[in-house]
Amino acid sequence: MPVIDIQNLSKVHAADGLSVNAVNGVNLQIGAGEFTAIVGASGSGKTTLLNLIGGIDTPSGGEVLIGGRSIGRMSETERTAFRRDHIGFVFQNYNLLPVLTALENVEFVMELQGQPVTDRRNRAETLLRQIGLGDKLNVRPGKLSGGQQQRVAVARALAHRPQFVIADEPTANLDSKSTADLLTLMEQLNRQEGITFLFSTHDSRVMEKARRVIVFNDGMIQSDTDQ
């Protein structure tokens, strides 16, 4: 069974009396351990698709099944708990909490889950050391570089052992070295720990690393190729 099963998914945005089909009848399956990139121009609907998959937005039609459960049919409370327990998020702007240290940021979702303090502290420390930030545990995001912040964001997304990680343009704000470091890290985590990554990008370097590339255009899948 695929981790993510998308069936005839659509999303219509309505504004100022105009309707836009941001996602239009998409069918897609993502298997466990995939390292998949969704590519396309700005406004092609990549972010909307990821938001629908992540339960951040609700579909106008069709379904997103995760582990067999329809995320669109859940109540708001159920969807929040589902996101917390099953999905990891990496955002374009890092979106770390500026008032928490790197360690506290990574611990945060585990704390929301109610994990014991020792367990989550050990897990957060291990992850941060694994991504090369062992010396930045008690540093707040404002004192970290963009690349370091995005690595902390990846650690936060992985900390609670989600079924998959959604990364929306994770390298958009990074320089080339930080981009390369981050891609290497994500690829390593994917290969060594089998973590499923689904990310949007229009960065050719990211596309090269992906093992499956889905080209998205006008809310529809234009091509879907394995590399």
Binding site: F89, F91, N93
Partner: protein, 404 residues
Amino acid sequence: MMNRTLNQMAWRNIWRNKTRSLVFMGAALLGFAVALFTLNTMKAIAAQRLRDAINVQTSDVQVHRKGFVDDHELTYTLPQADALITRLRQTSGVAVVAKRLVVNGVVTAPDNNLVGEIKGVVPRDENRLSVLGDFLVEGGPLTDDGRSPILISRRTADKLHVRLKSKLVITVKAANGDLAGGVFRVVGIFATPSTPFDENTVLVRYNDLAALTGVTAPHELAVKLTNPSQLAEVKAAINAGMPAGTQLDDWKVLLPELFAFDGFINMVGILFTLIISLGLGFSLMNTMNMIVAERTRELGMLRAIGQSRWSVFRMLIAECVLMMLIGAIGGVLLGTVFIGLAARYGIRISEGLGMLGIRPVMYPTLDPALLFVILGLATLLTLLISLVPASRILRLNLAQALKQ
């Protein structure tokens, strides 16, 4: 555990924009300090005015013949007065009973005269019941020694152009209907905070006034209680055995304007505090709106990674309450310091307020209950005001929030 982290985040969030938070907390601090100081000062004014009026003018309770309060008719004396005095003195909760003759008359000096109330009092009892002795500015209190002594106020002395040891003639209506006059010598001059009392009252010995008018039974029994807070209970006990044709009145009836003033002061205090609170409330709402607008993406991210909407909502409320409480606690401390200084050095108030029985210098004291009122008000106000901006979180569109 999560609560601890949320409170910790709320605390750290306060200091993300130090200037804005400090401006708000400073406003709250000053607002609550001024409110506490003003409330306590107004309460102190009301309490002082009440205390002085009761202790000098009326005492806690008075007994009269029915009709005397409305019409000071010379013949409206108390029946069975001696037996009533004995019974009153045996009543539990009664500290002092003093009998008085109260007659309208004319006080004449060589240069001037005035119409006023002549009170005949028993010096020994009156000096235990009244604190008029505390307001003597010249001479001494009435005693059983000497011939026909009289106490007058500084205002009366100035108006009549007399001084200590001057002679005054008092003319009153006697029991037989004729005019009767007597010579009195000024032995003491007082100045109470109450201008009306000072302008209208002179005090002589009971026996001297009785001899002048031919009326021996008292018009009035003034009763001082051991504990003024037991007014209702003692009144009930006294009322149970009152002779027919008499009436018992407490200070609330005898000094209705004072009772009304007390209520007025309380209302002004509440209004003043509400106005300050509303100003702070709008400031808080503005601050909260800015916080929510600035952090929309961050709040959206918190929701996206799994923090419940109510948890985010609670975090924002905690941030508001913390800011307001810091200001309120600081305000309470500063207000307490102000009150301490005022209690030590006094606050000079206009002399003209003597017409209202207000002393020219006030020494406010801190009412601990008001501390809790201020802190409770701050918390309640914050909870109510912060609901509006914080509720925007409940309606947050995650996809839109993350785009910002």
